[in-house]
């Protein structure tokens, strides 16, 4: 998917259906990732000249971070952008839920940058990624917008109810977050959720 000079490629972890998005430009000399649960993305990047500068995590449930250590093998210097409470999930098998799936996983790296609402990170010369706090699914959920793209993680998945009954989940916060997200959606917005396909603002309003 393209919007201006920004190209977005979707990769899916077929086991857990979680999405990984690669933000790049035409020649793919550099890239940023939104979540990194899909091994297909690692395979795509292996052997390519694309330099991954960082990963923006919508939240740290293990289906969205599972390939962080594989990415570290390919790009030892990349940064992980995550919320303060999301950071806990990187290093705790119980908080990221992998313990309960009997497949414990923690991040081996340490280059972690805490992100919060209203942060703006420069992606390219003329494009910024905006960070929006959208708690509810869990306290550390973040939504990211870049140009026409809106990366909503599990805070908003078109057609699905937000899960709020896990530890740290909060139905009131989720409703507020959904409201914030919906206000950001215009007809030309491309909503890229944590699971499922990319949807346009236009089709969602119909």
């Amino acid at each position: 998917m393209k919007a201006g000079n920004l190209k977005v490629k979707q990769f899916v972890n077929h086991e857990f259906t979680s999405n990984t998005f690669l933000l790049t430009e035409e020649r793919e000399s550099w890239g940023w990732l939104i979540d990194i649960g899909a091994s297909d993305c690692i395979r795509y990047l292996t052997g390519k000249k694309t330099e991954i500068k960082g990963v923006f995590l919508t939240h740290s449930h293990f289906d969205h971070i599972l390939e962080l250590n594989s990415l570290l093998d390919l790009f030892p210097d990349f940064a992980v952008y995550v919320s303060e409470s999301g950071k806990e999930g990187l290093y705790s098998e119980k908080i990221n839920l992998s313990f309960y799936h009997e497949t414990p996983f923690i991040f081996k790296g340490s280059n972690v940058i805490i992100s919060g609402g209203k942060d703006q990170i420069e992606i390219t010369d003329d494009l910024f990624l905006n960070v929006i706090e959208t708690p509810g699914h869990n306290p550390g959920c973040l939504t990211y917008s870049a140009g026409k793209f809106l990366f909503t993680g599990d805070s908003y998945i078109p057609g699905k109810e937000v899960v709020t009954k896990l530890k740290g989940g909060n139905i009131q916060e989720s409703k507020t977050s959904l409201s914030i997200i919906r206000n950001m959606i215009k007809p030309e917005t491309l909503i890229c959720p944590g699971h499922g396909r990319i949807a346009t603002g236009k089709e969602l309003s119909e």
């Binding site: 857990f16 259906t17 289906d63 309960y100 799936h101 009997e102 899960v163 009954k165 896990l166």
Partner: protein
């Protein structure tokens, strides 16, 4: 010919379905046409299982069963949305190994709460009028640990022993409502938990394996017994515990 193990359109509540025995039960019930309602803390695991189930009427609820107080509201909500249950299987359980010296009150409470407390609460809530259909059958997954002591599994074993005792009482109390309740008692079953135990304590695993004449069990072996107990084939069985243990308890 009547099929005595008939689950088409039956609605079965399942906890701990994302891995191991619970997962095998879900997949087997699915093959038999049941609608499955799943409760688990493992959200990605539920997503994975849901994508493997055929049919449109399954639903998963991500919930931490450590929160006993919220279970009543959760069950009412599910029944309002999905209707009453034909069966309930409790496969969830904290299996932590913890020496007695580290078995502080909070750890005991956690293990007893999830393994036993949530089971009792789910039985209590689903056995209210209009929450279950005629022929309602409940199965709890116990363990040979409740019968044969092993070091470092005190709270886990106690929670399973409590489950078996409670089932004998509930069976009597619920007989007039025609609700049946039983447990299955698995021994060593081939799950990721077992693989980990074999790596970390090979001698202990070998000792236990000697008692299991039929070798290592598979999750489907326990699932088969659970399906039997859910079905009309076991309509005269209640308050009992069926060993699915390859001969462990008999040896």
């Amino acid at each position: 010919m009547i099929n005595p193990v008939e689950f088409k359109d039956k609605q079965i509540l399942l906890t701990g379905s994302a891995v191991g025995i619970g997962r095998a039960v879900a997949l087997l019930l699915n093959q038999m046409g049941a609608n499955i309602v799943m409760i688990d803390i493992d959200e990605p695991g539920l997503e994975k299982l849901s994508s493997e189930l055929k049919g449109e009427r399954h639903k998963s609820y991500c919930y931490d069963l450590k929160n006993l107080e919220g279970i009543e509201g959760l069950v009412s909500g599910i029944v309002s949305e999905k209707g009453p249950f034909d069966g309930f299987v409790h496969c969830v359980g904290i299996r932590s190994r913890r020496p007695l010296s580290m078995l502080k009150p909070s750890a005991v409470a956690d293990i007893m709460g999830v393994n036993f407390g949530s089971f009792i609460e789910l039985v209590r809530c689903t056995s209210k009028s209009n929450h279950f259909r005629p022929g309602y059958s409940i199965v709890g997954v116990s363990s040979v640990s409740a019968h044969a002591g092993s070091a470092s599994v005190t709270a886990y074993a106690a929670s399973k022993g409590a489950m078996e005792s409670a089932v004998r009482c509930i069976a009597k109390e619920m007989a007039n409502r025609k609700i049946r309740i039983n447990t299955v008692i698995p021994s060593q079953i081939n799950t990721p938990e077992y693989v980990k135990l074999r790596k970390n304590s090979p001698s202990e695993v070998e000792q236990l394996s000697e008692r299991q004449y039929l070798g290592l069990g598979e999750p489907i072996d326990v699932a088969n017994a659970i399906i039997f107990l859910l079905s009309d084939m076991s309509r005269f069985i209640t308050g009992s515990s069926i060993a699915v243990d390859g001969g462990f308890l008999a040896s």
